[in-house]
Every structure is written in structure tokens, then in C-alpha cells.
């Protein structure tokens, strides 16, 4: 009898201890692959603080942050996608950079996790629209102003409060800056400067991204004036000597550094750099404006805006929790902390513009309210971008080809891409329907 009781007690003890882990509260572990540190120094540290706050408010959730580098981001994303393991949330650039992954079933739509009211406030939400669904939620704004140095403008005899708004005015300003001994426009072409120029300026001949998609699938050509005109304008600036002599051996960041060092009068720099550059040059030295107008499209004269996002991966087992974290980033408290901590406007219309202190950022907010244009580099294949646009821009700045030559290179690579990728051409045609 005693023996039987002992056996029963041991069995019960075994059952209870074996089921203890199941009874214990399961902690959800979210893995977030974060990008953006390359253009916003301090972003990763800010997120570490944000995660601490989130974990305190949500004790059942822990968030693991992984900082991505721009060099390895695409390869890491592709590897994770093929293995269908890794992050629950991942950084995505807009349009093609996101949709490439959607088409490979790496990402999950986010619409079901947010109310219409919430979605209405997400800035740039449609930049990841496909199949009537949205595939990411923005977490920082990356607009593309023309920055100009007011002090240099004054020294060159230009009105610092009236930057060039048209192409003719830009040519005139460039000449005066050159005569005053300054490099008119800072720029570096050795890496992806070509794509940056397209993003800043190509929208001006278009009403929406549809023509870029049409060029990609072959319904239009990259050699058509809608694309080639921009490169002819760039070539005109190059021939006039408005860019640095050694622009072909500088990378884009080095081109931006010229503005910080006061070596050039004008530069096209991402607005996430505004606060940092104002700290360096002084509030009264930095002016921002929309790029000078050369085109006749509806998007000419509008502020080019990208919103970088975090997307939920299709293999994530905690999509709802991932969406909750995104919701948390869009609470008023965190939007304010984002601006206060990094000096960058968060991508939410709920954000109180009254908090903006810098006049440059106030102007930027005003530009956004007036209507924005698309970053056209996001609407054609990455192969055309790298082997056509980047490569062509490098040769233009090496003096080996002209503006039409760049457009021709893009068209040749587009033809090759269509031959190599018939499946993706089909996807592009479906994508075109979003803009018709």
C-alpha cells in the first residue's frame, strides 16, 4: 500500500512538473531587423529606448533589435526570405523595393491590423500598395529637398531668401556661384548618385509613376523625352562645370559632405540630414527649397517624398504583436519622442507640427501638406537602376557619354531585364493597374 502511494505521488509530481512550462505565461519574442542608421545616426539607439518602453508596457512581449547595414540588407533579406525564417518586422524602402519581396511572398499585408482612422494618418501608406493591400507602415520620412547655403548665396550676389525655382534660374545661380569661386552643385557619382538624381528630378515630366512602369515593360522607352530630358538637363549642368570636377570619383555621401563643409552652394540632400546640417552650418545658413522646375508634368514643383517603413514578414508567427509594435510607434507619445530625439518628422499626420522648431523643417512640413511627388527610382527594376542608371551616370560624369547616352543605357538594360524576367514583367503590368 505504501509502495502504491509512493508511486502515485511520484507520477503526480512528474506530471505537474512536466506541464509547468505549458502553464507558465509564454513570452512572445519579436525580432525586428532595423535599417536607416546609415542615414540617421542614432536611430538604432532611439529604437533601443523605444523597445524598453514597449516592453515595460507589454511585459509579455520582448523585442530583439538587429541593426542592418545598407551593404548587406538586400542579401540578408533575400536569404531570410528563402529560408522563411528570421525577422518578424523588417525595414523596407517603398514601391519596387518592397513589392519585389511581396511578389516572392516574403511579406504580409498590414491592413487587417489597423483601423481606417489609423490608416488615414499613416503618411506614405500608399507607397507600398499592391493588390489593393498595404505592405508596410512608415516610421520615418525621407523627403528630398534642394538645400542651399544662404551665406554662400549672399557672397555670390544671389538673394538668399529666393532660391532658384526654375531651371533657367538654376543656370543663372550656378553661373554666379561659379564666378564667386564655389562649386555650384555638390554631387558624387561613383556609387548610386544616378539613382538619386532620377529620384529627385525625373518626376517632373510625369503625372504619376505610370510612365516609369510603362518604360520598364516596354510600352514606352527610357529614351523617350519623359526620361531622357532629365538627363539632358543634368548633362547641361555638367558641361557648364556646375558639378565638382572629380564628381566621378566621389560617392554620394562625399558629395553631401561638400555642402556641410561650405564648398558648394547647392546640394540635393535627404531631409533627414536637415537637423544635423543645421547644427554644423547654423540655422541662418541653411535654406531648403523644392528642386527647380524643368518639366511640365503634374508632379513638377512638388516635394519629392519617400517614407521608409517596417513591414511584417509572411512567416512571422506573431503578426498581430508585430502590428501592435507598429501601432505603438505611431502613438502620440512616441511620435513626439521620435521628433524630439532625432530631429526628424515622423510619418504621421497626427503629429503636431507645433512641436517643430527648426524653420527648415517647418518649411518641409508645409511642402508635404501642399502635395508630394514620387521618388521615381522606386518604379523601375533594380537591374535597370544599377547597370543602366548608376552606370550611365558614372560614364556621364567621366565625360564618356552624354545625357542621351544614359537614357540609352537604361533602355538597353531594360530590354535585357524583360528577356531575363518575364514573370516580373507580368507583375509590373499588374502593378500598372494601380495607377490607371
Amino acid at each position: 500500500m505504501c509502495k502504491k502511494i509512493c508511486i502515485i505521488v511520484v507520477l503526480l509530481a512528474f506530471i505537474v512538473t512536466a506541464s509547468l512550462p505549458a502553464l507558465a505565461v509564454e513570452k512572445i519574442n519579436l525580432v525586428l531587423w532595423l535599417g536607416g542608421e546609415w542615414e540617421i545616426p542614432g536611430l538604432y539607439d532611439w529604437f533601443k529606448e523605444a523597445v524598453k518602453i514597449y516592453e515595460e508596457e507589454n511585459p509579455k512581449v520582448s523585442v530583439e533589435l538587429v541593426n542592418l547595414s545598407t551593404d548587406t540588407y538586400l542579401a540578408q533579406f533575400a536569404a531570410a526570405g528563402e529560408a522563411r525564417t528570421g525577422p518578424d518586422l523588417i525595414f523596407t524602402w517603398p514601391a519596387i523595393w518592397c513589392l519585389e519581396h511581396v511578389w516572392k511572398d516574403y511579406l504580409a499585408p498590414v491592413d487587417e491590423y489597423f483601423t481606417d482612422e489609423e490608416k488615414k494618418n499613416f503618411m506614405g501608406f500608399d507607397q507600398r500598395l499592391w493588390d489593393k493591400k498595404h505592405w508596410g507602415v512608415g516610421f520615418y520620412v525621407a523627403g528630398k529637398p534642394m538645400m542651399y547655403n544662404k551665406k554662400i548665396f549672399k557672397k555670390a550676389g544671389l538673394d538668399p531668401e529666393h532660391p532658384p525655382l526654375t531651371w533657367a534660374q538654376l543656370l543663372e545661380a550656378g553661373e554666379k556661384l561659379k564666378q564667386a569661386g564655389y562649386i555650384p552643385i555638390g554631387f558624387g557619382a561613383s556609387d548610386w548618385g544616378g539613382g538619386y538624381l532620377v529620384g529627385n528630378l525625373a518626376c517632373q515630366t510625369m503625372d504619376n509613376p505610370l510612365p516609369m512602369l510603362q518604360m520598364s515593360v516596354g510600352d514606352k522607352k527610357f529614351t523617350d523625352p519623359e526620361f531622357s530630358l532629365m538627363w539632358e538637363k543634368i548633362y547641361e549642368l555638367y558641361k557648364r562645370g556646375y558639378f565638382p570636377e572629380n564628381a566621378d570619383s566621389l560617392n554620394l555621401w562625399q558629395g553631401w559632405e561638400m555642402f556641410e563643409k561650405g564648398e558648394c552652394g547647392i546640394d540635393f540632400i535627404c531631409d533627414v540630414q536637415i537637423s544635423r546640417i543645421v547644427d554644423i552650418l547654423g540655422e541662418d545658413a541653411v535654406g531648403i527649397a523644392k528642386p527647380p522646375i524643368y518639366g511640365q508634368g503634374e508632379q513638377a514643383g512638388k516635394y519629392v517624398l519617400e517614407v521608409q517603413a517596417l513591414s511584417i514578414t509572411s512567416w512571422s508567427r506573431c503578426k498581430k504583436e508585430a502590428a501592435n509594435f507598429l501601432r505603438f510607434l505611431h502613438t502620440e507619445k512616441m511620435l513626439n519622442k521620435f521628433y524630439d530625439g532625432l530631429g526628424i518628422i515622423p510619418p504621421d499626420y497626427k503629429f503636431d507640427p507645433g512641436r517643430i522648431r527648426l524653420p527648415q523643417l517647418k518649411k518641409m512640413w508645409k511642402f508635404i501638406q501642399e502635395g508630394t511627388a514620387d521618388w521615381m527610382e522606386n518604379f523601375y527594376p533594380t537591374m535597370v537602376d544599377e547597370q543602366g542608371v548608376f552606370a550611365g551616370c558614372q560614364l556621364l560624369f567621366a565625360g564618356e557619354i552624354d545625357g542621351k547616352g544614359v537614357a540609352k543605357m537604361a533602355e538597353e538594360i531594360a530590354k535585357k531585364w524583360r528577356m531575363m524576367n518575364p514573370d516580373e514583367v507580368t507583375k509590373y503590368r499588374e502593378w500598372m493597374e494601380e495607377f490607371k
Binding site: 542579401a75 533575400a78 519585389e100 516572392k104 556609387d191 572629380n246 544599377e386 558614372q394 543605357m409
Partner: protein, 290 residues
């Protein structure tokens, strides 16, 4: 106790399993992705479609051309420079140990560090061109990394600068182990420096030369990716594209894994062929010596 026949095989099984997973399995998958395409329910045979795509791609041809150019310029340059400098150091000139140390230093530096430093050196208004202009040699200040005609040669220079150190040390080590009596006998017979070099030194180095040749070929075919990726990323104007970069970009940036796999397969076949030829020649030379 008699050891069972199967015991050795069991003992080496873990190592072979590891080798199989890390070497043979990827090669099997490489063949699969080269000739098959993944669809929703499995794989579809695509035949030689991926090969046809590659053969129509001018950037791929440029990549192959650059790899061959590197094999024909960098490998012989590494060999000749390493031997010549090793022979000079072998003369035990004053401070030869310090020179040996300085010449080997570049080899231990990480390639990305070397690449970034040389980017600054070779920029249009970088250290080199500024120096040349100040010395009145402005006509020699070229567009080292910005010109599509010159950039590939600039990269080759950097590769040779960095990699030669190992060859120098290897050849010097062999030379230091040679029997001095050979040189004494040659001197007595009236051989001059060049005759000693061609009739004694180089034949004595033949085994090391064979080894270093394979090593240099592998370096050029595998490590070249690092140099190009850091210094030019294939630019300007796709002029410095190499096959390894082509495979990387095609797979990870352009999401065309099947085409990239076919390119990898071609590279594997070429490298295997080169090593096979190498061993055949080496085998013939050993036969002759015997």
C-alpha cells in the same frame, strides 16, 4: 580485440557528413537551380534557358573578360614580382628583414580597409593625383577609378600590391632553405647573376612556383569580389564587373537566382578545368623529373 572493418568508416562519417552538407549538397542544388525553376508545387525543367540568357548578357561577357584579364595579368605579375623581390632579399642586403616585414604587411590587412584607403588615394583630387600635380607630373594624374578604361587596371594594381607579400615570403623561405653549395659551384664555373637565377634558383623553386600559381589563381578568382565590391561595385559603367560580383548581384539584388546559379556553374566548371590542367602539367613535370 579485432577492430571491425566498419569502424573506420563510422569514425570518419561525421566529417564526411559535414563535407557533404557544406560542399556536395550546395553543388547538387546549384545544378538544380541552373536547370530547374521553382514554382508553387515544385520545380519545372527549364533546360538551357538560363544559359541562353547569360550568353545574351553583355555584362556577363564583360565579367568573364575581366576575370580572364586578371588571370593573364595579375597572376603572372604576382609570380614575377614575388620571385624577383624574394631573390633580391635573398641577397641579404642591409635591412632585408625589415623589408620583408614591410612587404608582408599589406597581406595581413583586411581587403575592405585596403580598398577604402585606395579609393581615397586614387580619387580625382586624391593623394596620388595631388602629389603628381605638385611634382609637375600632372599629365600622369589620370582618372584612376572613374574612367571605364583604366579602373580595372587600377584594381589589379591594388590586388598585386596587397597579395604579393605572401608570395615573397613563401619564395624567400624556400630560397633560405637551398643548399648554398649549388651557388658556390656555379660561381666557380663563372655563372653570372642571371645565369644563377635561371639555371639554379628558378628550377629549385619550381615546386613552390606550382603551388603559388594555384594559390594565385584561386585568389584572383575568389577574392577579387571583395576588391571590386569595395572599390567600384562594378562601375564605372559596368567596366569592372567580375563574374563573382555578377553572381552576387544577379542573385541577391536582382532576385534571379536561377540565372545566378547557371553563372556559378560556369565559374565552377572553368575553375575545375584550370585546376585539372594545372595538375596535368604538374604531373607531367614530376614524371619528367623522375
Amino acid at each position: 580485440m579485432k577492430i571491425k572493418q566498419t569502424t573506420p568508416y563510422i569514425l570518419i562519417l561525421p566529417a564526411y557528413t559535414f563535407l557533404g552538407l557544406t560542399f556536395f549538397y550546395p553543388i547538387v542544388k546549384l545544378f538544380q537551380y541552373s536547370f530547374f525553376k521553382r514554382v508553387t508545387n515544385g520545380f519545372v525543367f527549364t533546360g538551357l534557358d538560363n544559359l541562353k540568357i547569360l550568353l545574351a548578357d553583355t555584362v556577363f561577357f564583360k565579367s568573364i573578360q575581366n576575370n580572364l584579364l586578371m588571370l593573364t595579368i595579375v597572376v603572372p605579375a604576382l609570380l614575377v614580382i614575388s620571385i624577383v623581390i624574394a631573390v633580391v632579399l635573398y641577397e641579404r642586403i642591409r635591412g632585408w628583414r625589415i623589408y620583408r616585414f614591410c612587404l608582408f604587411m599589406p597581406y595581413v590587412l583586411p581587403i575592405p580597409v585596403v580598398g577604402i584607403v585606395f579609393i581615397y588615394i586614387f580619387q580625382g583630387k586624391g593623394i596620388l593625383n595631388t602629389f603628381l600635380e605638385q611634382m609637375g607630373l600632372g599629365f600622369m594624374a589620370l582618372n584612376w577609378l572613374g574612367s571605364s578604361k583604366i579602373a580595372i587596371y587600377t584594381i589589379m594594381f591594388v590586388i598585386i600590391w596587397k597579395e604579393a607579400g605572401l608570395g615573397i615570403v613563401i619564395f624567400l623561405a624556400r630560397l633560405l632553405s637551398l643548399d648554398e653549395a649549388l651557388y658556390d659551384a656555379a660561381a666557380i664555373d663563372g655563372a653570372n647573376w642571371f645565369q644563377r637565377l635561371f639555371y639554379i634558383t628558378i628550377p629549385q623553386l619550381s615546386a613552390v612556383i606550382e603551388f603559388y600559381l594555384i594559390f594565385a589563381i584561386i585568389t584572383v578568382l575568389s577574392w577579387v569580389f571583395n576588391y571590386v565590391y569595395v572599390m567600384t561595385a562594378g562601375g564605372p559603367g559596368n567596366s569592372t564587373y567580375v563574374t563573382e560580383l555578377y553572381i552576387f548581384n544577379t542573385s541577391f539584388r536582382f532576385h534571379m537566382r536561377n540565372v545566378a546559379s547557371m553563372a556559378s556553374l560556369i565559374l565552377l566548371i572553368v575553375v575545375t578545368f584550370l585546376i585539372f590542367v594545372q595538375f596535368r602539367i604538374r604531373g607531367g613535370m614530376i614524371g619528367e623529373r623522375v
